[in-house]
Subunit: 203 residues, 2 copies
């Protein structure tokens, strides 16, 4: 297997952290998004959506989209479990993961797209929209702080894929769009510190 990756991009990082939690060391090939390398005819034949991550399987099959790759890796390497052990637990974790993806991760990504100078050539940036997305992330972090009361991790008592999505979204927003983890949000800060200190956070 091989992971088409780009170190600076948040979606591949979700897969890298997921793999690190499983103790997997996936060989990777860097696809430099800043040089348009995910949009070449060669790469579009690998992933017609033109983005990373993509996992190449040993039979040559390509699998794209971070969540699909994560679930597939979990089927091959069930332990430690990150996505749920039975149908109801899987559904609960997916519920939390999707909230993190739609309300936090992709919102932080839109803030980056509309505010960061790196994207000035890529799209027509609308600062007012970008600022609204920063505000939406901060509101979502306050909500998440309340949801974390009395819970060690986002989906419950153990670390799951929902924590990975939230953590990578927050870290990307902090690095690129001025997102802040307010220390006054005590449960969020406690969770953020715990996830940051896991060895996988370096992936």
């Amino acid at each position: 297997m091989k992971l088409y990756d780009f170190t600076l991009a948040p979606n591949p990082r979700r897969v890298r952290i997921f793999a690190a939690e499983k103790g997997l060391n996936l060989p990777n090939e860097q696809v430099d998004l800043t040089q348009g390398k995910s949009r070449t005819p060669e790469f579009l034949a690998i992933n017609p959506a033109g983005r990373v991550p993509v996992l190449q399987l040993d039979d040559g099959t390509y699998l794209a989209e971070s969540n699909a790759i994560a679930h597939y890796l979990e089927s091959l390497h069930p332990e430690p479990n990150l996505c749920g052990r039975d149908a109801l637990e899987r559904a609960r974790i997916e519920m939390w993961e999707r909230r993190m993806e739609l309300d936090l991760f992709t919102t932080a990504l839109r803030a980056f797209l509309h505010l960061h100078p790196m994207n000035a050539q890529r799209l027509k940036q609308l600062k007012e929209y970008g600022n609204s997305q920063v505000a939406a992330v901060q509101t979502q972090l306050e909500w998440l702080d309340r949801q974390l009361k009395g819970k060690e991790f986002i989906a419950g008592p153990r670390f799951t894929i929902a924590d990975i999505t939230a953590f990578v979204g927050i870290e990307f927003g902090v690095a690129t769009a001025g997102i802040k983890v307010d220390p006054a949000l005590a449960d969020l800060t406690r969770w953020h510190r715990a996830v940051s200190s896991r060895p996988s956070a370096k992936a």
Copy 2:
């Protein structure tokens, strides 16, 4: 089981179509989003994210988020299969479903949010941003047309959850944000006609 639903909203419709394909008739309770009924203290105790759909299980447990509900329903009612029969097929279908959700469904939703008069009180609408999302959906439909060449459905030879997400996103965009299915996109139009004519499309 009971589905907290709102007929006009696109996310609950994904679950309704999914259930209809399975031959399930879920009792439902309407939560009128236009009257703020998903934001009451009573409803926030059911779903702290304040939205529908929510599936109430027979033991009183609440499960939110359309995809999580769909996967849980599939575990109870495996046939007809809509999400994949083995790990690799599940991953492939999830890849397609996620592309449809992130690039088409949520883009159409943002077009609606920023352009439709119904939302003028709900958020500060940015027409320019809304128009950019309409354009992004149209570009995505051209992409989808190319992806459908030689394929009957989005994830391959049979109808799956990826078709449901794409169809509901398109229908919602057509109804609320001026999205068009251009007849010149022959494969998209062929697929759209086939999915529209399924009995589940009325759900």
